[in-house]
Subunit: 66 residues, 2 copies
């Protein structure tokens, strides 16, 4: 289920937001916050989303070395 | 100039990252960090980008009431 806030932003706005996320070097931080919420039981997500988040964390951390 | 990290993520990964950004309610936070870096002179951006950031901040804050 796509986030309803996200759908109300234009593509340009979404790209600007992502760009700032990386320039502020927060990408890894927010994914690890989400993973820790899931792994400590504060948030329930299906296993597919959980795996995608774990993969994205490693992609950003290892491949983009952030 | 698009962020080179951003271009190395798939569209799905970009959308997942944006989705987490909103579920963690960090969107407003990172834009205000970027604006404060600019306004305190720690970061130089052209005026067009600065205006886009200010507009995006108000969009998210007022329209999305985050």
């Amino acid at each position: 289920m796509r986030n309803e806030w996200l759908e109300r932003l234009s593509l340009d706005e979404q790209m600007l937001l992502l760009d700032v996320l990386f320039t502020q070097q927060y990408a890894l931080e927010i994914i690890s916050c989400e993973l820790s919420d899931i792994e400590r039981g504060y948030k329930y997500v299906d296993e597919a989303r959980h795996q995608k988040l774990v993969q994205l964390y490693h992609r950003i951390h290892e491949e983009l070395s952030l």
